[in-house]
Amino acid sequence: MSAQEKKHNSERLQRIIELCKSVEDKGVDPFAVDVDHIIATLKKCFSDWESPEELALDAEAVQYLASVIQNQGDWVKHRSTSLYTDPFLIEEKLQRLNKEELVRLFTKVWNPIIELEQLSIPSMAEAMKYWNDLPPIDERWQRLDPTQVMAGATTREELIRQKILAEKTFFEELEAFWKTLKQKVGENEKILYWDFVGADTYSETLDNAYMTSFLVTYGYATLKLDPLEEEIFIIPLKEPRSGLSNKQMVSVPISVSHEEWIRWKEENLT
């Protein structure tokens, strides 16, 4: 199918959606929509749709068509109720009646709500108390001028102490972590993921997992998955890999839950 035809079909679907929407939003007669014809059109176009956007458009059209069918059902249900009257007949009656007749007729079926508003002594007393306790408006709406603070100098050490700055930059920490990985792997080519990130405390384990994710993302290491054994290995690279953007990147979600950490710890202790 040519791109031109595809564009044409996509526009047809848009028009179908608009038509179905107008039934819902503007009260157009639902039977003005030729459902059979629309279904045939959708069926004809469906085999040509490939991209997710085209399929989503098709699904949207089907959804709106379903709402039209529901409207047709409601219409039939309403016609079968005692409240149904031909709108033209009602309109004609309304046009013919003068306002006095219309009011006489309406007041027969109109039972207005009785509602009273009255102050009571307790509510007056409560209101008086509130008024007496209420501070004057100039006190309540007092403007708070911002306090002026003198600027001063600080040192890097002070900022590190206040945890505003880190002692090492993130990349320095990442490189140090990479060295640790290489040391742990030693002569072997790889190390089990949990043997590397697992630590004495759960919080340390999470820190390790966090840093490991950056090692892999920035090309300092790679992951190897053994689907049969369900094992994940980390392989440190000799040199950080660059130009990763040219390759297809794959995300590997690894759960580091507290239960898994407990299980790992128990297995390691035994």
Partner: protein, 185 residues
Amino acid sequence: MKRKAYYAIKIKRATQLLFYKRHMKPGVKGWELKNALGSDYPKILKVLDDHLEKLDLQVKTVFEGEDPKEKPTIEELNKARFFITLRGGLPSKDAKMMGWRIDDIAGLATAISYIISKKGKAPREEVDDLLRSKLPGWRVDINLNRYIRAGYLAEDENNMFYLDWRTRAEVDQKALVDLLLGTES
């Protein structure tokens, strides 16, 4: 406490709750009545309704969504809103006591009847045109907005009119349609 005295106290409380406006909207929700009167509040309302009948008033229940086809469940009653309304309509000469002009009431009757005939919703433009055939244009907009503010009509973002809570509480829609059709053209 004797049964009669118990009901007398509860009916007094129910009367205060239902007659006096407590929120922006009049009426009381079922769950509020349950909190104030106890779980047998439907029975208390029934006794109150019997008392009110002598005064041509009634306890009116407006359910959320459509009216239940069978006897309402306690959950449906808890979600419903209860009002005190007139029971048998009012003489048309007294309609002006409501503070509305005859034009306003005729316009309201027209708008409600037209929306009922259109399956409960109609575009503002159509209702507007219908009212303009008998009312001056400047008055139509004022009136339509007044009906919305009072809770007779609701309007959505597509300028569609629906019947709102007050119409459901005050107007017997079926009787209105029957009366209209029964008039001689």
